[in-house]
Every structure is written in C-alpha cells, then in structure tokens.
C-alpha cells in the first residue's frame, strides 16, 4: 500500500490548510491543547499504573481508581487524537519522512489496542482475582508504552 499520496492530500485538505496558514491556530489549538490533553492522559495512566504497582493511593481500591481514570483517559485520548490529526495534517509530508512519527504511530496503535482490548477487560472485574505479579506486569507495560508514545512524539519536533 502506498501511503505518500494520502499524506500529500492531507496537507492540501482544509485541516492541513488551516494549520499551515495560521501559525497561531496551529500553536494554540494544535500544540497547546495537545499538551494539555497529554497532561490528563498521562495523569490517568500514571494514577492507574502507580496504584497497581502499589506506589500511590494504597488505601483506595484499585478498581475504583482504574474505572475513574479510564473515564478521563477516553476523553483525553479523543482530544489528543483530534489535535494530533490537525497538527500532522499541516506538516503531513514532513511527517511521512520522519522516523519518529512512524515510531510514535506504531506505539500509539499498540497502546490503544492494549488499553481497550486487554487492560480494560482485564481490570473490569475484581482485582483480587488477578495475580499481583500480573497486575504489576501490565502496569509496567502500560507506563512504558505511553511514555514511548509521548517521548517519540516530542522527538518528532527535534529531528
């Protein structure tokens, strides 16, 4: 499958045009809201995973923490995807040739599948039924994958 035409089209699309032409809109609605959503998304991931690892809020049931954090995770993910698509459209052709962009997209895809197909179904029930080592393993994997998404994302701008 040839993806370059899609990236070329994205840059000429309305979204790409707005982001390319109006630097102020790109920086505020794109980058700034992307960062605010990162704070919320990363916060929900850390709250859940550090709880599963037994680092924070040991006296709050981990089921409650995981459920409540996931609610905000979904909201933050919606905002981060929307602003991410907006930003990528404006510089689409540069993204196509950027290694860190593809690293980030791969990690993001893995992260989303991991959360919705594996972590959520696993954590839905009573956590006492799950072996503690498994909860910790999932928490470490979750922190690592979302850290990778954020870090490779930051590095897109540097390279």
């Amino acid at each position: 499958m040839e993806l370059l035409p899609f990236f070329e089209w994205a840059e000429t699309s309305f979204l790409g045009y707005i982001g390319k032409t109006y630097g102020g809109v790109y920086a505020t609605f794109g980058q700034s809201i992307h960062l605010m959503s990162l704070a919320v998304l990363g916060g929900t991931v850390l709250v859940t995973d550090l709880r599963l690892l037994g680092v924070i809020m040991k006296d709050v049931p981990s089921e409650v923490v995981a459920d409540q954090a996931h609610k905000w995770f979904r909201i933050a993910l919606a905002f981060i995807l929307a602003t991410g698509i907006f930003m990528a459209a404006a510089v689409a052709q540069r993204m196509y040739y950027n290694d860190f962009f593809w690293a980030k997209m791969s990690a993001l895809l893995v992260g989303i599948i991991f959360v919705f197909a594996i972590k959520r179904p696993l954590l839905k029930g009573n956590h006492a039924d799950i072996q503690p080592w498994l909860l910790k393993l999932v928490a470490v994997a979750s922190i690592l994958i979302w850290f990778s998404v954020a870090a490779t994302g930051r590095w897109i701008g540097f390279s």
Binding site: V40, G42, V65
Partner: protein
C-alpha cells in the same frame, strides 16, 4: 501624566536590569554548553515537557475530584493528600529543568511576552494553591465524603485548572517569536515584553 511617566521609567529600568542579568547568564560557560548541545538541550526540554504527565496529571485529578468529576466516592482529603507527593516530585523536576531551559536561552526568554505571562500565571496559581489548601484543611472534615467540594473550593479548583492550562499554553508559545523585540510592536507590548531601547 507625571505619574505615568514615572511608571514607564521604573519599568524600563527593570527591563534593562533584567536584560543585563540575562546577558551575564548567557555569557557563562554552562549556558553556552547547554544551548549548543543538541542532545543536552533537547533531553532537558523533553524531560520538562513529559513531566507534565506527573505534575499536572495529578493536579488535574485532585481538581476534578473537588468538582465531583472524578472518584466522587473517595474522600477528597485522601485524594488530595495521596496525590500531592507525586505531584510535588513532578513539580520539582519541572522547576529544575525549567530553570536549566531559561539558563540556556536567557536573553531570548527574558524578552518573551509569553514567558512573562507564564511567570505571572504561575504566581497566581501558587497563591491560589496555598489558599486552596488552607481552606481544604479548615473545612474538609465536614464534607470530604460528599461528591463535590463546597462552592469556594470548587471555584478554586476550576481556577487552578484554567491557570495551569494557561501555563501550558504560554509555555508552549515561548518557542514562537511573533512578538519579539525585533518585530514591529506597539509601545505597550514592547514595554511588557521587556524591550530595551538601544
């Protein structure tokens, strides 16, 4: 009239002193070393940006709890106390890396209107946080298990979210030089950004 002139003079003296300080910092070896090192500078910057997840992530959770939007069944005091430590660890990392970023580009940053707005917002956020914790400590025992905090604390929590959103945005905008001194700026904006006449 006379009053206005004086204020203007005081402002330009302050701006001059700040710029002199920034120029002195710029000339130090450490400052040059960080800015000229691609990896050192970018790793400090990446750490500063990524720690947002720890620092503001925890802060958002505390504020959402006060507004009744997260973990309404858990004691508000417990949430605030438990998340305070990771939040402060994040804040310390952001503070240190932030200082280093300023140290690497002092002359550029000191004349950035966004940096200046960010510092004001941080100061207001700090005062708001101190008041918030005072009120929380004084009244929490009467309502901590209710889903929402009393009105004044809710306002404080909402204000905190708004202020920190502003800190994030102005922080991001420091990278843009739209209103830097070498641009055509209205006099008031030049004075606010710290431009100094040659």
């Amino acid at each position: 009239m006379c009053h206005q002139v004086r204020l203007g003079e005081v402002n330009s003296v302050i701006n001059e002193l700040l710029l002199q300080f920034a120029e002195w910092l710029y000339a130090t070896g450490g400052s040059r070393a960080i800015e000229e090192s691609f990896y050192l500078y970018n790793w400090i910057e990446a750490t500063h940006v990524l720690t947002i997840m720890l620092c503001l992530g925890m802060l958002v959770f505390i504020d959402l709890r006060m507004l009744g939007l997260a973990m309404p069944g858990v004691s508000a005091v417990k949430i605030s106390e438990r998340l305070n430590i990771p939040m402060m660890i994040g804040f310390i990392i952001m503070f240190i890396t932030g200082l280093l970023l300023f140290y690497a580009k002092p002359t550029y940053t000191i004349q950035s209107i966004w940096f200046r707005i960010k510092m004001v917002l941080l100061l207001v956020a700090f005062v708001n946080a101190v008041m918030f914790h005072k009120r929380l400590k004084a009244s929490a025992s009467t309502w901590e298990y209710e889903p929402k905090a009393p009105r004044r604390l809710q306002i404080s929590a909402a204000l905190s979210l708004g202020l920190w959103a502003g800190v994030v945005m102005t922080g991001r905008l420091i990278a843009y030089d739209w209103f830097h001194c070498y641009r055509e700026l209205p006099a008031w904006l030049g004075a606010a950004a710290g431009c100094v006449a040659d």
